[in-house]
Amino acid sequence: MRKALSFVALMLALVLTLSGCVLRGPETEAAGEISLPEPDSEPENMILGESISGNLREVALYRAAADFSSFSTVNQNLRAEVGQSLPEAAVEALLASGDAVNAQEAYDVKLLGCEYACGTATVNLSIDARNASSPQALLALEAAIGNTLLGIKGVRGVNVLIAGMSEGCFQLPVGVQTGIVPSVTAAYAQLQAESDRLSQSDAAPIERTAMLYFPSEGGGWLVPELRVLSVSGGAFAPALIDALKAGPRDESSAIASIPEGVELLEEGPTVETLATGERVLTLNFSPALANYLAFSGLEVWELAGSITLTMTSFLPELDGVRVMVNGEPITMCAIGDTLLQFPDGMMRRRDFADRVGSVATLFLLDGADRLTPVERAVSMRSALSPKSLLTELLSYAGAEGAAYRLPLSVNVYAEDLLGVQVVGGIARVNLSANFYRSCQRLSPRAERDLVYAMVNTLCALDGIRAVRFYVEGRAADTLAGSVYLRSPLLPSPGLVAEATAAP
């Protein structure tokens, strides 16, 4: 009996031993010494200010054929300098090469300015553009610019102005170009047909894409937005007013300039030609607009700028806009400390052109501590400047209790961002020792969020694909022991959408 029990015990021991062996079979633990590769040593690189180099982008420059029936393209590598957008560089290259129109139409057109904001480009050409031999030739110039810019990644609409005015064709607004025009001849014929149709009372509405300008959320800027309008009977101005009243699509970065309930007192606002030859649109609003201005917090210049920029960017050959409230014209407004005066009530595009802002995407922590893309209106230059965007980002440092914040202490300032250098798609960010010290007590999660707030924000900029951090010009391993900084860091789309991310 004892032998039998011993046998059973032996068998059980054997079974347990074997079972352990079998199920542990496939496991392979990390064996031996494994070590992380060490980076090469780097010389000190004290980056100060902001610089961009080596960011060459290939752009297809469009050139109309002699008969305007088609376009040919020439590829050219372009570089946008600091504060300059690639569309601006492209237009300059286009005009400099004389490729915009055929050689017979060559004339000295200059670029007065290029507003690139929110994926839209407003190109302001010199008055020389009107020297085109024919309306078709001018249309060819505009289409060449439009086609070229729409070939650039991120550009969704192009509006070409001449001396700050929309040129139009057959007295009709051309609107914003949002698609490649393959043939000027065809486009011109269509415009002519639309012009003919407009004279008929029961004509079908005409569709145009307009550039609307809305006051930014938080004030300070007027941000453009593309909007497709369907206009009947040539009532373009009321259609634009209605669109402004409808407000922006993205209410996180902009607000409506004209509230619902405010009406135009004259149903058909007309364009008046002054003795000086200038064409002025008078818009007389109901008194409710005065109440709105008094209580909504909207500043007068924001209202005036929104209307003026919108009208002059769309209506053909419009020099200015006169805005009246119950018959009283707005003759002055203040932008910060600057007082703008309009003695005759006529407001021109150039009065507000420097207030055109763009929307930049900043990555900040929301109330649930998730890295979230937040759109903020900034100047067009800032929207293109890595350093300015990081500075904007740092303004959210330590904003406890705010809707969005950056996990960084309040004693970090814009000065702690010593410099940003963009080379070959990598933004090298030089942080101060104070910045580094402020990060020392961050948790791994906060450190990761801080780093990727900066990385994702910078990589949202065209031409930046990775970010490398330095501290006082020297390579640092980490800010707080977790995120390794000796490698260029790529943006993390998953961190932003981690709440809905995959496994």
């Binding site: 068998m11 990390a30 780093v451 995120v483 490698s487 860091l489 981690e498």
Partner: protein, 468 residues
Amino acid sequence: MAFSVIGFSLIQLVGEYLFTQRSRDDQRIADSLAESFSDYLVAFDAGSMYESALETAREQQSRVLVLDALCVVQVDTASELNGQRFITSEIDGVLKGSAGAHGFYDAGRASGNFWFRAVLNGFSGANAMTGVFASPIQSGGELVGVLVYISQVQEIYESLRDLQIRILSWMAIVLAAVLVVDLLVLRTITRPIGELNEGISRMSKGDLSARVRVRGNNEFAGLARAFNSMSERLEQLDNSRSQFVSNASHELKTPLSTMKILIETLMYQDPMDPAITKEFLTDVNKEIDRLNRIVSDLLTLVNIDSGVKLNAAELDIGSLVSEQVKRLSPLARENGIELDCVAKETLEVNGDQLKLQQVVYNIIDNAIKYTPRGGEVHCSVIRSGRKAVIRVSDTGVGIPQEDLPHIFDRFYRVDKARSRETGGTGLGLSIVKQFVLLHGGTIDAKSAPGKGSTFIIELPLAEKKRDG
């Protein structure tokens, strides 16, 4: 044992096959992703890598990490390790030039750094089997990164565990069955043999009282019964032998003692009356005769025990009985006893005439000796079926019922004093019985005290040979 070895070998083989197959498939996925990510990683195209990795991770229920050459996680489909440095033995192998490496880990027991354990636990949950596959991302022949593909292999592990549990269950059943069979064998074979062995051992040491327990009704029980029967018989024989030796010694010693007394009297009584001397010598002579008879009887019994052969021939038993009656008639007359014999037909038996004469003589002689004067002794020989029956009846003192079963035992005497007076040795009936048995017959006695006794001898008749 063999069952367990086969069972676990089977699990091992199945496990190896499943894991090898899975390794091959997952390594292929990792290699394919690494190849497609090469251009993306060089171009810092995180968006494309993330989208592609995410699609694979969702389809395969896996996790994908893209590491740069410094092992910094640039893409993580779980968005946990971005920016961390991450290394495992598989990644290390790839960094050292391996074309691909993989390993399987139990998330609950894996060693390694914090992030490694966090990855396994975060992905698979504690105690889940996880596969880690690393593949180099190369551009222009140079290593630019490592792709890490982490997949769950818990379902394989679960399958193996199920298989193991099934085999363990079967093993438990088999073990229980073996135990039961073992106990059964122990009870039915081993134990009886052990007990038998013990009994034999005791017997070989001289303990003839050894018996074994008889269990059931199988062959072992039969063997035990046979052993018990044998040992019982041996014990009886031993007892008989002891009794016989004791009786023989006693029987031999009695005449010797008598003779010693008589002879010593003759030697030391001086002068001795010549008549008394003669009487004493006569008594000595009688004792010598008696000793002679005892020895003769003993020799007869020894011969019988050692397998004496009958000098068999066909004879008429009726005539034989009549002759013995005739031979003893003078003794009967001397004792005043009427002796007669009835044997009407010829009954032939196949027997040894001398021995059968001794049988009949002894029986009739006993009847005469134990019948008082004026009594009767009747002899008859009749046929009963295929037997010849010799019946000797007397009107003597009879035999008590308690003595009847023993009257054929050696040296057994019903009335010991009287028996010696009559000159008996105590072996006569025993010799008679042995002779009858040698002839294939039987002998029985019926008696009641004071009413006489009847001895019945049955002998098989000789087979009649057919003429021609």
